[in-house]
Symmetry: C2
Subunit: 333 residues, 2 copies
DNA sequence: CTGTTAGCGCCTTCAG
DNA sequence: CTGAAGGCGCTAACAG
């Protein structure tokens, strides 16, 4: 790899001049600029961004931490972020936290140690205190899907309580009274909030929440399968199931079919997230829309304006969930 | 951020010694080691991996280029790679090429300029020549899903011809004779190969391939929708459709239903890739398994052994596709 | 076992 | 408009 030094020699100028044409910064005469450009081409020169980063303390890249690299939820999120950042010539360094406090911390530290100019974090396990401490550090960050009062202006979130409420309300208005619920891991705030929304809707319709009709899953398909199996055993009379995400809903569907239950006629199911494949499962799954790609874009824009343009514009931090009606819920009134 | 210098001062030792305990390399007495460790903790010291990378010419991270960050195909691939690398303390820097030659090149150059120790590339648009030239450079790389004879030992591929063959063979053996095909973009080699496999199976059964029953899609769902719409218009008598990937197959299903076609009774469909949601569409989609997660792991292992352990072990480069039978294909003999 | 001394490749004042 | 010089934080011989 050619270095700036070789370029400068070939062009017959100083290091500083080469540096200047690279960052087409200061005034450089057209003549010398041309000389340098030619020399760079001749040598196939590529700037070493590591060295740039060390010297300038700016890496032109943002760090992104997601819980998983796979799964239908994170793909659109990463993609939305990468696209908007890339358009401005910024890069993204992605790493996974696996919903584990230690791995999330490691990931964050890795990104910081890589000189990321800013961080976009979808963290679940790490504590509020840790993040507040982190916010005192020099690397700015936004939080996706997590609300911390002290950091409210950089928390881009969905109103999960409302989402949970909307889902169950729709089920109730379709005449169901015998309703089971498969939640996410309840140590996760969003899982908790969705469940709270559910309870709220129930209360509004004077239906008492029954612990026996709750199964705590882990947002993964299999737990939906196991959840329905368990729930059905306890109470075969349920006519509707609300799931805290779409993947568990599809898992539940598999179990329901194995029990000889006809969908949606004998069992209504609703999911959450509106992940892309929900249109294609059978029956097409009604769900709650989570505009994660858009939220990712907002996060990216925050980075762009806040870090690179130094113009601190307020951003939309609260997004609204929406009911998406397809065919998995049946009216039994 | 504390630097190595401050640590050395606090511990009362030299820079070199601090560096040594960090890389627990050379012999350091337990006493001084303890002093240094304490000093590091007290200062909350974190090594700056950018500086390490610049000085040691080793970044402990591999670059990964995929076509898209979203989509059911790349998720498992990224995840498989990240997991196996992470276990050895290596990190992954991911970027997207969007199946565009220029963006793929940019991505590769970014990864190289970031001092990645090795690259794992899923590139589609960039030329063979470019990659061959790249192979002369100092950053080693493996190729995923691309075969270049000159670089055969670092190409981890699936036998796509065979996969295409298996899919159509299964359709033919189910008694279908009036078969349409939705391909991927034919400038992509894998799309071409899958189609060739299709033709080969047809030939074996003495069925002539008809250009009119081919629609060139782009591996994205919508093109499956449009593809079937166009194909059906030309020939409403088709009884089977083979698609070059699962996403187009699900798109085709939507169109078929809109035409009042009952699935699978009136139209058999087979996909390709065995992406995770194929089990959940209706009818559950028969397809060809593409062990992409495993192939990703092999790529990661290549990096681990080849670059970090300097033990050049040969790896499995050719993987076999397998027919996955579900319920979207019906026997009409 | 430990300290000294050069760099890694680039940016950034500061003079000129 | 251009060059010289110092430094970003760390590693890696080489001495001692």
């Amino acid at each position: 790899m050619a270095t700036i030094y070789e370029v400068s020699k070939l062009a017959g100028v100083s290091l500083a001049t080469v540096s200047r044409v690279m960052n087409n910064n200061a005034n450089v005469s057209d003549a010398t600029r041309k000389k340098v450009t030619l020399a760079m081409e001749e040598l196939g020169y590529r700037p070493n961004s590591i060295a740039q980063s060390l010297a300038s303390n700016c890496s032109n890249s943002a760090g992104l931490l997601v819980s998983e690299l796979k799964g239908p939820f994170y793909g659109p999120m990463m993609s939305g972020i990468e696209n908007t950042l890339r358009k401005q010539g910024k890069h993204v360094i992605i790493t996974a936290g696996h919903s584990d406090a230690e791995r999330e911390q490691q990931g964050i530290e890795f990104l910081i140690s890589r000189n990321c100019d800013a961080l976009i974090l979808h963290v679940e396990a790490v504590s509020d205190e840790y993040l507040i401490k982190l916010s005192k550090g020099k690397t700015p960050f936004v939080l996706l899907n997590r609300h911390i009062p002290e950091l409210a202006d950089r928390c881009i979130i969905l109103d999960n309580i409302k989402g949970g409420y909307l889902a169950t309300k729709y089920i109730l208005e379709s005449g169901h009274k015998n309703i089971a619920y498969i939640s996410g891991p309840l140590w996760k705030k969003d899982a908790q909030e969705r469940l709270n929304g559910h309870k709220q809707a129930l209360a509004e319709h004077d239906i008492e929440f029954d612990e026996n009709s709750l199964y705590e899953g882990d947002f993964i398909e299999d737990s939906g399968y196991e959840g329905f199996t368990a729930l059905y055993k306890k109470n075969p009379a349920i006519t509707a199931l609300v799931c805290a995400n779409d993947e568990m809903a599809t898992g539940a569907m598999v179990s329901a079919r194995e029990h000889g239950i006809e969908l949606p006629a004998q069992l209504s199911i609703i999911g959450y997230d509106n992940v892309f494949f929900t249109r294609h499962v059978y029956p097409p799954l009604s769900t709650i829309n989570y505009p994660i790609d858009e939220m990712g874009k907002v996060a990216a824009q925050w980075v762009l304006s806040h870090v690179y343009q130094k113009s601190v514009q307020p951003i939309q931090t609260l997004f609204q969930p929406e009911l998406v009606i397809r065919q998995s819920v049946v009216n039994i009134t």
